[in-house]
Symmetry: C2
Subunit: 397 residues, 2 copies
Amino acid sequence: MSFGTAEYQERIYKTKKSMAEKGIEVLLITDPANMNYLSGYDGWSFYVHQMLIVINDEDQPIWIGRGQDANGAKATSWLYHENLIPYSDEYVQSDSKHPMDFVADILKQIGQDKRSIGVEMDNYYFTAKCYEQLKKGLPNASFKDATLLVNWVRLVKSDAEITYMKRAAEIVENAMMKGIGLINEGVRECDVAAEIFHTQIKGTKDFGGDYPAIVPLLPSGEKTSTPHLTWTDDRYKKGDSVILELAGCYRRYHSPLARTVNIGPPSDKLKNLSDVVVEGLNACLDMIKPGIACEEIEETWRKTIHKSGIVKESRLGYAMGLNYPPDWGEHTASIRKGDRTILQPNMTFHLIPGIWLDQYGFEASESFRVTANGCEAFASMPRQLFIKDGVLETNMN
Amino acid sequence: MSFGTAEYQERIYKTKKSMAEKGIEVLLITDPANMNYLSGYDGWSFYVHQMLIVINDEDQPIWIGRGQDANGAKATSWLYHENLIPYSDEYVQSDSKHPMDFVADILKQIGQDKRSIGVEMDNYYFTAKCYEQLKKGLPNASFKDATLLVNWVRLVKSDAEITYMKRAAEIVENAMMKGIGLINEGVRECDVAAEIFHTQIKGTKDFGGDYPAIVPLLPSGEKTSTPHLTWTDDRYKKGDSVILELAGCYRRYHSPLARTVNIGPPSDKLKNLSDVVVEGLNACLDMIKPGIACEEIEETWRKTIHKSGIVKESRLGYAMGLNYPPDWGEHTASIRKGDRTILQPNMTFHLIPGIWLDQYGFEASESFRVTANGCEAFASMPRQLFIKDGVLETNMN
């Protein structure tokens, strides 16, 4: 298990407190990160329906999943084995039996079917069909939207979680150095991606890496006009720039990091863009401290880069930490105008002021935690446009 | 683009035919594999809401996604740029604006809001909230469940798709050999996983690898009693067995493969289990041909292994090919009792008769395509329990 039982119980306590505030008696959790956060359960089984049930007047959650995954729950969670309820394989990807019918039956059997039931309405792993089947199976329940309820509980990290994110940062530094070091004219994109993956998963000699919730994002050339492309087997050309957005991951905890590299001398436009973004990024990191609101960071960014004429329309960053594919973001606080979330020590964010223009783009980012008086970037890596075969290359060694 | 425009148009044609049969005029597609299949779009942007809209009387689908991903759609899809409709960032993970509100507005603007609209009710990327917002925003539409509509169109592969899956098989063979070769007493699990990833992504000298939709599954020791655990940084011990379930991936097309290895001489129980599973697997592969039903494969399996007393309660396999996380399976045909899908040439499956008992398990699998007269396994690898430091090791070199 990644944490002691006391830490899990503390998390359950906070979750129940939030449930009480929202009038929720039974919480049905489908987000695999939330399931892991409360139970420790860690398996790549979220491609079938599964669930963790928190009941306000029961000590332990109930895990419901596919039969063959129950031994995985035994191996990785702190739950009593009698709280692990497997469903049979006839419920798997069937057009006649849905796992939520099974969940509804269990809730009836344990007398929880007439209660106020919270569901994660906008989570990937709670499909429209899940909700329809639950409503059919539990006609006497009253359903409430509990989207992000546990995610908000996750916002402030424990010291143990911070330790994991620092390990993830060690990994991402190594992976970023490896990627930037390899990118050059004539090298295949997939060969760079392969070395990055290797570094991410191997970890260090003291601890191994876990799989990040997002694969390396590596747009190159004109494709740097967009952030979420991966790689091809094309060879890099002289003059190409490449954006690297990667995370290190340790026991499902992430430290993402983005940098941009140019093969050969960069265009003046890209150099100028990188200067603007790095100035804005530094200004934000300098002013972050407990007590300010997320939107104040965005205001600092906007005022700092105003003179450049560059405008960033998308958000500047987001809360992150524990997660599973398809996202390492927590979907709670965002660093953008209108977000009044007040920073507290041990909140953790990925501050990623990427700019994507019509034919090129630039990213430089930092993952940080809020400290008692300011903030601390997890990774340590020059904030700049990296240039291969150019004067700045020595900075990365 | 992975395929010529004609192949995409053929796919659209088949999709519209199925829509017509089901009385669907407008199909809202959220499954990233289905989006890719019809448009070519390939980006790790499915962690935000996005959609491909197929309208029965329009030539081209419409892509709706986040602003910063529109250039990614330009770079990877065959769609006219005017058919790419970006939404602004205020719709991203917001508690006041939902991307499906934007989708509903677009459908109203283009006069498609009073039609019969198909939605993928049980897809990961179509949440309960998506459906609620669409129903609110489109009160005059009639909604139909179009879960798996495009997935079923994907069932029979083109020759071009088969070529990609064969490349994926070359990759998975290399990755499996690498993994089995490295596993030994004292080696860290994460170091084996890292080399497997490296091989998966690097590909061969002729073509690069893409990221598989599932990371390497590597349960070891007692954890081989369950299939979906990944790896830790523990060191393997003498006597441990390790299950490896991996895929190669080329341009989003998969060839999964599973094998089991034992460090040192295996227990009699494991050896016996492996003999039973391999005998059953071989019997299935020998009888597969066009015209039989999926359930007949399961019947062959059951009769072949009956004498052993071993019973497999979960399905034997499933259709697979193109996909994104969290699953490489297509969620259509399953190789199990009751599945009457009739095999046709170029259907592709992962036949994985894994057995997971209380304290140990065994997997050996093959991905295959149905041929004119039988079936063809994509990979070529001995079907056996691999033994490190044992007499069978030479078989793998």
